[in-house]
């Protein structure tokens, strides 16, 4: 098992109290597995990704454990984590394309980054150039400034940099969201290729685009308001989802190749709950068409089939309605 996350709780400290952005999250990622992480804006996807790399100022590790390749990852300890970042766990952050330092040539930036890990740029230069070529970037881009690259090129560049030290786990946060469809496909397929070539062992791909993550993920996890509500193979999540939230999410997606005519897709009424004082019980309750009295109690994430888990009291009823 590459990654084991157990009952992880990470909160944001604010003046009004704790925002419970991750509130008891458990899952595993197997060696070689690509796990897609999907859910509405604000459900905690980025928080989960960041928790495995670096807790920023206001984030607090409140409970739970994370183990990488059998060894505990000291996520609450910034100094200890520093040794593991980039080498063992690496992240392509959301909006990283626009976050690249605009005043520094790309080659220099990479040299600085490697230097901070005690690695000489010239020792890795050959490997770097080969990998750039693999994603269709010529060596001379190393002399460019980030603004001189198009969005798609920048994103491929960031991918090469963050996997240069062959990390065990890569977290890719919304890496395709800002791209047009052709670039989206190229970037998504590069992620798979990096896995296949062993540049990274396993991967968590964060996105709110289920159709995209379905293309490349082995497994998909769906989050809602700080918790995982369903996890299964990509096929199962898309073709036979069980949780009422997953079902609603999937049926709200328009698709090319279907003729809609006067048929309207349905959105999910209402909004996700505030995580400052989240409601008790099932957090989807206020929007769920099946909600009943038992839902006042929090449903546990339980196995319903091999590799398929969901957190809902009424899975049978939800199924009957499908």
């Amino acid at each position: 098992m590459s990654l084991e996350v157990n009952d992880l709780r990470v909160h944001y400290r604010t003046l009004k109290g704790d925002v419970r952005a991750l509130d008891g999250v458990s899952f595993d990622v197997a060696d070689g597995e690509i796990v897609g992480l999907a859910g509405e804006s604000g459900c905690g996807k980025t928080t989960l990704g960041k928790s495995l790399i670096r807790l920023d100022g206001r984030m607090r590790h409140v409970g739970g454990t994370v183990a990488l390749d059998g060894e505990e990852l000291p996520i609450g300890d910034d100094r200890a984590m520093n040794k593991r970042r980039f080498k063992d766990v690496s992240i392509i952050p959301q909006y990283s394309m626009s976050a690249m330092n605009p005043t520094r040539r790309i080659g220099r930036m990479i040299a600085d980054l490697l230097g901070s890990r005690g690695i000489a740029y010239r020792d890795l230069k050959r490997e770097l150039v080969q990998r750039l070529e693999l994603v269709g970037l010529p060596e001379k881009v190393l002399d460019n400034y980030p603004i001189e690259l198009s969005g798609g090129m920048k994103q491929r560049m960031v991918m090469v940099i963050s996997t240069l030290l062959d990390p065990s786990l890569l977290i890719a946060d919304e890496v395709t969201s800002a791209l047009d469809v052709s670039n989206q496909k190229a970037v998504a397929e590069t992620l798979v290729r990096f896995r296949d070539m062993g540049f990274v062992k396993s991967m968590i791909v964060v996105t709110h685009d289920l159709s995209l993550v379905y293309q490349i993920a082995d497994t998909i996890m769906v989050m809602y308001a700080g918790r995982i509500v369903e996890k299964a193979s990509a096929e199962t999540i898309v073709k036979a989802p069980q949780h009422p939230y997953t079902k609603a999410l999937i049926s709200a997606l328009p698709e090319v190749g279907l003729e809609y005519g006067d048929r309207k897709l349905k959105s999910i009424p209402g909004k996700p709950p505030q995580l400052l004082n989240p409601p008790t019980g099932c957090r989807f309750r206020a929007r769920c068409p099946l909600a009943g009295d038992e839902c006042a109690e929090q449903p546990p994430l339980v196995g319903i089939d091999r590799g398929h888990e969901a957190a809902c009291w009424k899975l049978e009823e939800s199924n009957a309605r499908a």
């Binding site: 509405e40 804006s41 198009s150 969005g151 798609g152 969201s177 791209l179 047009d180 469809v181 052709s182 670039n183 989206q184 496909k185 998504a188 397929e189 709110h208 685009d209 289920l210 159709s211 995209l212 379905y214 293309q215 898309v238 073709k239 609603a248 999410l249 999937i250 709200a252 997606l253 328009p254 698709e255 090319v256 190749g257 279907l258 003729e259 809609y260 309207k264 897709l265 349905k266 959105s267 999910i268 909004k271």
Partner: protein
């Protein structure tokens, strides 16, 4: 009826405008009341530039744009204000097209000051509430709020409501859905669908083909500033004739088929050439379906 006839746009680029970049080449189309026309294509293909010309935010280099038969490029400043009563735009990033220090009320009040100075406050108030309600917003929940206190979907709808205060005929919507969640997306799309039924003409600019497919009856595919294919959405997306359209459609992530299972091999495309030459002309390939010759 909005009509674009052989419209070209060249930007001056480089130091001191020493070079020229032709971003839109010989584009013609019409949008009738009650119709949504989608413009799709890769990033940089000229979609936003077309929308900005329709909104007269930038000038037209060559060609004509007409609204109800009147040439809009000929209108002076006064004429332009009249034009904006009928044509409005909503853009990609609602947070940037909206002054962060203005509360929603103020933004809507500015519409009154500019266009309806003679309308009284209480009458205006009623109009604002009606307009907010028509886009599915509870006036109490948005008035008095700053933009960062609204969700992306609420803000996007509020901007549409602002446009609707003007009894517009044409709405230019540029990538307004891209940054919204699956669920909010459908709300905004369905709202556009309702406006269309009420007679609005919508120019829907997007790089997401599934959204174009859902919302529009006609579609235009652009590449390198020119139209490569156009027609009824079902025809263009169901039976794409231009190799670029086929490549584009094959890249769309679909929920039930994986790229890997699709036996499609991307076709070789003509590289970007001299942009000042007229693009390949469109020829009729079927009823309601036109494509440019490739190669």
């Amino acid at each position: 009826m909005l009509e674009l006839e052989n419209v070209w746009k060249s930007y001056r680029v480089g130091s001191l405008g020493s070079k020229r970049l032709t971003a839109v080449r010989d584009v013609s189309f019409t949008i009738a009341p009650g119709e949504v026309l989608s413009v799709v294509g890769e990033s940089g293909s000229g979609k936003t530039t077309v929308g900005k010309m329709v909104l007269q935010l930038i000038s037209v280099t060559r060609g004509t744009i007409r609204l109800d038969g009147r040439d809009i490029t000929a209108a002076g400043k006064r004429g332009l204000r009249e034009y904006y009563r009928k044509v409005q735009g909503v853009f990609q990033d609602p947070f940037s097209s909206y002054n962060p220090i203005f509360k929603a009320d103020r933004v809507l009040e500015m519409v009154r000051q500019t266009y309806f100075p003679r309308v009284g406050r209480s009458e205006w108030q009623a109009k604002v509430e009606e307009s907010l309600q028509s886009v599915g917003l509870d006036p109490g929940a948005v008035l008095g709020k700053y933009p960062h206190q609204l969700s992306g979907g609420q803000l996007q709808r509020m901007l549409i409501a602002r446009a609707l205060l003007l009894d517009i005929e044409v709405l230019v919507a540029d990538e307004i859905i891209s940054m919204l969640d699956a669920s909010t997306r459908i709300d905004v799309l369905n709202l556009l669908g309702e406006l269309k039924e009420r007679g609005l003409a919508v120019l829907f600019v997007t790089h997401d083909l599934s959204l174009a497919n859902y919302i529009s009856e006609r579609v235009i595919i652009m590449r390198h500033g020119a139209v490569v294919e156009t027609g009824a959405t079902a025809k263009v997306f169901g039976d794409p004739r231009h190799p670029y359209s086929r490549n584009l459609l094959a890249s769309v992530p679909q929920l039930h088929t994986k790229w890997a299972d699709n036996q499609f091999h991307a076709e070789e495309l003509e590289p970007d050439g001299d942009r000042d030459r007229p693009p390949a002309p469109l020829t009729k390939v079927d009823e309601n379906h036109w494509a440019a010759a490739a190669g």
